[in-house]
Subunit: 272 residues, 2 copies
C-alpha cells in the first residue's frame, strides 16, 4: 500500500495525524487549521467513521466541520468491505478537498478498508493534493506500518507491540497517539526497533502534526509531539530478546516539539 | 522502505524468495536457476549471511555459487550496524549481478540492516536489474511487511503472528517459508487478515518463486507454492477477535502451484 504516485505538476496534500481527544467545542484549533489547509470555506470534507462502533460519530463530525465553515461535510458510514466498494462514495472521495478519519479501533479501518478501492481512492486523493487526516485510530492508520495495539510503559520490551499494514500514505513515520496520556514511549521504541528505518511520531492528545507536501511537520495543539529518530541507532538487541523482556537500544535521537515547532522528515532536523 | 525507483530505461531485477532447505549438494536447481537469471557464468554474486549466527554460512554459499560457475561469489560478514555502513562492502553490492541473503533469524536482518545504507544499496541494486533472493529468513525479509515470527497451525488466530517492516523490495506479497513443513497457513492468513491488500506467498522447502520485472511468478523446486489472494475477502473478524481466538475470514481465493507453474501478481491470475 505504498503512496500513490504524485503527478509532476501536482503536490501531495497535507497528511494530518492527531493524537486523539482534539478540542471540538471550544476554539477547535486543530480542526480549524485542518479546514484552512484544505481550502477553507470552499472545502468539501469527507468523513470516514469506520473505526468507531458508535452510530453518531460521523454525524458529529459533519456538524463540527459545518460549524467551522466547511462548504460540505459528509460522513460515509462504511461498516463492511462491500460498502467500501460503493461507487457513489468513491466519487465523493475523488472530489473531496479533505478526508477526515475518526477515532475508534484502527484494526476496523485496516480490516474493512484495507485492499479496497476506497483505500486506493484515499491515497489517490492525497496524491492530487487533498488533505488526509485523522484522530487517534484515524492517525495510526495513515502510515505504511501501523501500531495495531500494544502495552503501556516507557521501557521497550520484545513483543509489547503489534504492527499491521496501514493505509500507506507515508512510509517515513510510525505514528502513536494518546502518547503522554497512555505512556507509550516503550511501544513506539519497540515498533522502531524491529527495523530502524522509520521515524517515530508520538502525538499527545489534542495535538496534531501537519505534514505538508515537502515533508515538513508543523505542530498544532495543546500538547507535545515526541519525535524518535533511530537513523544513527548503533545497537538493537530485539532479535535476541525473549518475549516480555526489555530491549537494549543505543544512540537514539529524541525531540519534543510544541505548538509552532517544525521538523523536516527529509533532513530529520528540528526547528523549534 | 518502499521499492527504489526503477529508471525508465531499466527493468527491475528478479526477486527470488526460497522456502528454505534448498538443495545445495545435488542438482541445486534453484541456486542454478538463480545464477542463470543473473547473467550465468558472468555473474558476480554477493552473499549476505547476517541472519545466520553460524560463522561459516557465508563461506559455504561462496563455495556453492563458485561450484555452480559464478564468476565471483563473495560473502559480506556484516554482524552489526556499523559494518552495514562499510563503503567497501556497499561498492560490492553496487556492482553485483545478484545478492543472496541466507537463512537464520529475519529479525537479525531487519535490526542490523534496517535503515542502513546497505539496505538502500540492496534496493537500488534490484531497481537497476540485479537479482535479489534469499532463503528462509532471507526470503521473509524481501517484502515491505515481513512475518517476524508466529505460531503453527492451519486456523488463523488473533495475535498468532508478529509483523515487522522488511527490506521493502516489493509490497505486493507477504512471504512465508517452510510452509507445508511447519504448518503455517494459519499465521499467513492472520498476517493477511490485518489488512487484506497483499497477496500471501507460502513457500515449501526447496521451492522458490522467481518473480520477474513484470511481476510474473514462476515456480522452481520440489515442493509447492501456496498463493493466498484476499482481494475479494468479504469479512474479517480480526478487529473484534480476542487474542488467541480463531478469526473468521470469508471468500479467500487459493492456488497451489508446482514446478513450472506461473502466476501474475499484476492480474492475480494463475497459469499452471
Amino acid at each position: 500500500m505504498s503512496p500513490a504516485k504524485v503527478h509532476p505538476d501536482k503536490k501531495r496534500g497535507y497528511i494530518v495525524p492527531i493524537g486523539g481527544a482534539e478540542d471540538k467545542e471550544g476554539d477547535s484549533n486543530i480542526l480549524r487549521r485542518f479546514l484552512e489547509v484544505s481550502g477553507g470555506k470552499r472545502a468539501r470534507v469527507v468523513i470516514i467513521p469506520t473505526a468507531s462502533s458508535l452510530d453518531d460519530t460521523g454525524r458529529r463530525y459533519e456538524k463540527i466541520f459545518k460549524k467551522l465553515g466547511a462548504q460540505e461535510a459528509r460522513a460515509l458510514p462504511i461498516t463492511n468491505r462491500t460498502e467500501a466498494a460503493k461507487e457513489e462514495w468513491i466519487a465523493y472521495v475523488d472530489e473531496a478537498d479533505a478526508i477526515f478519519i475518526t477515532g475508534g479501533n484502527q484494526l476496523r479501518l485496516s480490516t474493512i478498508l484495507g485492499g479496497t478501492i476506497m483505500a486506493k481512492a484515499i491515497r489517490r486523493a492525497n496524491a492530487r493534493g487533498a488533505t488526509v487526516g485523522g484522530t487517534s485510530a484515524g492517525a495510526a492508520i495513515l502510515s505504511e506500518h501501523m501500531i495495531a495495539h500494544g502495552a503501556e510503559g516507557t521501557t521497550p520490551k520484545a513483543g509489547m507491540v503489534t504492527l499491521s499494514p496501514g493505509f500507506g500514505l507515508t512510509n517515513r513515520v510510525i505514528i502513536d497517539q494518546h502518547f503522554r496520556q497512555r505512556d507509550r514511549l516503550g511501544r513506539l521504541l519497540t515498533a522502531l526497533a524491529y527495523n530502524p528505518f522509520a521515524l517515530g511520531l508520538g502525538l499527545d492528545e489534542d495535538t496534531a502534526a501537519f505534514i505538508d507536501g515537502d515533508s515538513q511537520v508543523t505542530v498544532v495543539g495543546k500538547g507535545g509531539i515526541t519525535l524518535v529518530d533511530v537513523a544513527e541507532l548503533e545497537h538493537s538487541s530485539l532479535a535476541e530478546t525473549q518475549e516480555g523482556k526489555p530491549v537494549s537500544l543505543t544512540n537514539i535521537r529524541l525531540h519534543v516539539l510544541i505548538e509552532g515547532g517544525r521538523y523536516s522528515l527529509e533532513t530529520r532536523k528540528a526547528n523549534a
